[in-house]
């Protein structure tokens, strides 16, 4: 939807005696809509609230009464940026309920499709949403005017991701080739091998991206994060695995579902997730911290060259970790393209079975959990979708509190900008959890 307005959406700092209020009508470069409120009294941050306005469980309600075979298509419409994540979590949950676990060539093709989504999503965030923060640019347009070559490199990467999604998924936006059990049609060897050359170029572009972002100046901030991510039997996690944490958790997606408690809070219509009562963080920082040893050597070496250890707790350096994952995703996609053999048939048979199934995959922004309860004929009786952003919401609030407390000497405008950046560090897709972000800050 376009909105015709006669003003620019920008920060509006205001000072009222000892009370200072900063508001942003729309926080730019974040997917979706919501608002952020920070209250500072006597130099202490007393309240931080990331508010999200939208009935977040609309799609869960929509699934009830529909066939399990429809779940991938319906859930793919939740997010325009990461439809594959929703499709493949939905497939995993329905297949789990039906006692089927497609592997081999179907699993490899799914992983390739998911690599396409990682590449396009990370390229979008790194170049068009996040990099302008570090380079003093108001937005990606200004960045493109100042450094056309960099933005062209980012767009080239994004196009390669989209190309994979079009080739495997049928189209880049809301791919139509994914179905429960596998695919409607397996691409030919020639179609898949044609991706090799663009992917070689993309891998070089990803390495250049890492070199570019590693040279940015980063605020010295570290979060005391509880990381949660998938860990697979082998390889860096994307489409399957157990759920592990930096505090020793190691459970199945089904067991994880039982441990994650979501609650409503007054300031948000989205649910806030806690694991054993505590906030936690999913996404690139968590994946990297829990799986750095699983990266291929090209990505590991690039990470080291970019100044990263095996764990990164500086949220502002998440852009470097995303660049490492770009290198990984391009390299992994190239490996899968080279080894590709079409699955025959393109989909496994998945007859309906009464029961409960769980599916967890790694969306670009973090862990995405689906739980479906199916009736004997495959009708969906209940659904639970836990998107990355609602899992990260409390940690983003904690980050904001930390950032504001350490930067109270900044002007309202500077502090507002830093808050926006702190939110963008985690690439929240609020449209998955809800919609549109406004920011207001009170100082007393």
């Amino acid at each position: 939807m376009l909105v015709l307005r006669h003003f620019e959406q920008r920060a509006k700092p205001m000072t009222h005696g000892n009370s200072r209020v900063i508001s942003v009508d729309g926080l730019a470069r974040v997917e979706g809509e919501g608002s952020l409120h920070v209250h500072v009294a006597d130099g202490v941050v007393t309240d931080v609230a990331l508010s999200i306005f939208e009935p977040p469980r609309f799609f869960e309600a929509l699934l009830i009464g529909r066939s399990y075979l429809e779940a991938p298509d319906i859930t793919s419409r939740i997010c325009g940026i990461c439809p594959v994540a929703y499709q493949l979590s939905a497939c995993a949950a329905t297949e789990d309920a039906c006692g089927v676990s497609p592997d081999g060539r179907v699993a490899a093709l799914r992983r390739l499709l998911y690599c396409g989504e990682w590449i396009q999503s990370h390229a979008l965030h790194v170049y068009l949403l996040h990099a302008p923060d570090f380079l003093g640019c108001a937005d990606a347009v200004e960045l493109a005017q100042r450094d056309r070559a960099a933005v062209e490199r980012g767009l080239r990467l994004k196009r390669t991701g989209n190309l994979i999604m079009e080739t495997v998924g049928g189209r880049a936006i809301h791919p139509v080739n994914v179905r429960v059990g596998g695919f409607y049609r397996a691409p030919s060897i020639e179609e898949i091998r044609a991706l090799a050359e663009p992917l070689r170029r993309a891998r070089d572009d990803a390495l250049a991206t890492l070199e570019w972002v590693a040279a940015f100046d980063f605020p010295t901030v570290e979060g005391d994060y509880r990381f949660v991510a998938l860990r697979a039997m082998e390889g860096y996690p994307i489409e399957s695995g157990r759920v592990v944490s930096s505090s020793g958790l190691d459970v199945t997606p089904g067991e994880f579902d039982g441990l994650v408690i979501e609650t409503h809070v007054a300031h948000s219509t989205a649910l806030q997730a806690r694991l054993d009562g505590e906030p936690y963080l999913t996404g690139p920082l968590a994946r990297y911290a829990l799986n750095a040893d699983r990266l291929p050597s090209i990505a590991r070496e690039a990470a080291r060259a970019g100044g990263l250890g095996d764990v990164c707790r500086n949220p502002f350096q998440s852009i470097v970790v995303r660049a490492v994952e770009l290198v990984f995703a391009c390299d992994e996609a190239l490996r899968l393209v080279t080894a590709y053999e079409p699955p025959v048939p393109p989909a496994w048979e998945v007859p309906p079975l009464e029961g409960t199934g769980f599916g967890a995959t790694e969306a670009p922004r973090g862990l995405l959990l689906h739980r479906f309860v199916l009736a004997h004929d495959g009708t969906i009786v209940s659904a639970r979708i836990v998107p990355p952003t609602s899992q990260n919401q409390l940690t983003i609030e904690a980050d904001l509190k930390r950032v504001v407390e350490s930067s109270l000497d900044l002007s309202d405008a500077e502090l507002t900008s830093l808050c926006e950046q702190a939110v963008r560090n985690h690439d929240p897709c609020i449209s998955c959890a809800a919609h549109f972000l406004d920011l207001s800050m009170e100082r007393q």
Binding site: M1, L2, V3, L4, R5, H6, F7, E8, Q9, G26, R29, V30, E31, E33, E54, P55, F58, F59, L62, R77, I78, C79, G80, I81, P83, L124, L128, L129, D139, A140, V141, A144, Q145, R148, V151, E152, L155, K158, R159, N162, R171, A172, I173, H174, H435, F436
Partner: protein
């Protein structure tokens, strides 16, 4: 050589009238229009790469401007991505960077379409849900016809 034309309907059919753009795109894709690059888009930034160097890009999107629901307006964007007359310097979008931002980026890197026309359909209801409001549903047919006229006039 015939003109290269790209048509995209932006929005989500699960946000009521925000589905107007995709509804028009689906109608056009099923028509005998003969334009290959037609489709719904949830993310306007995906216009980048898709519309590079096209002769004409037609963007169909729901709009909220205060006009009567179902009102259709054609916005022929000039070189800097703003409407003639100036008010569209404030053309904002709920789709992240938005179509206008995408156009400005495309111009900055030198691959923008030669002409961009936004077919704006005034919506009434943008909450979660399926189905266009009656006035917008009627407008989809008219908007589809307007797009066909645009395409035929550009050939």
């Amino acid at each position: 050589m015939s003109a290269r034309i790209v048509i995209a309907g932006i929005g989500s059919e699960y946000r009521r009238d925000d589905g107007a753009g995709p509804a028009v795109a689906e109608r056009l894709a099923a028509s005998s229009l003969g334009v290959g690059d037609v489709g719904p888009l949830g993310e306007p930034l995906d216009l980048l790469g898709r519309w590079d160097d096209a002769d004409l890009a037609i963007i169909v999107d729901a709009v909220r401007s205060g006009a009567a629901p179902g009102t259709i307006e054609l916005l022929d964007l000039n070189d800097d991505g703003t409407r003639p007359g100036g008010i569209a310097s404030a053309l904002t979008s709920t789709h992240g960077i938005g179509a206008i931002g995408a156009l400005r980026i495309a111009r900055a890197v030198g691959h923008a379409p030669r002409r961009v026309v936004v077919v704006a359909i005034e919506g009434a209801e943008f909450g979660a849900g399926i189905g266009l409001s009656p006035a917008v549903a009627r407008a989809v047919d008219i908007a589809t016809a307007r797009v066909i006229q645009l395409v035929e006039a550009s050939r």
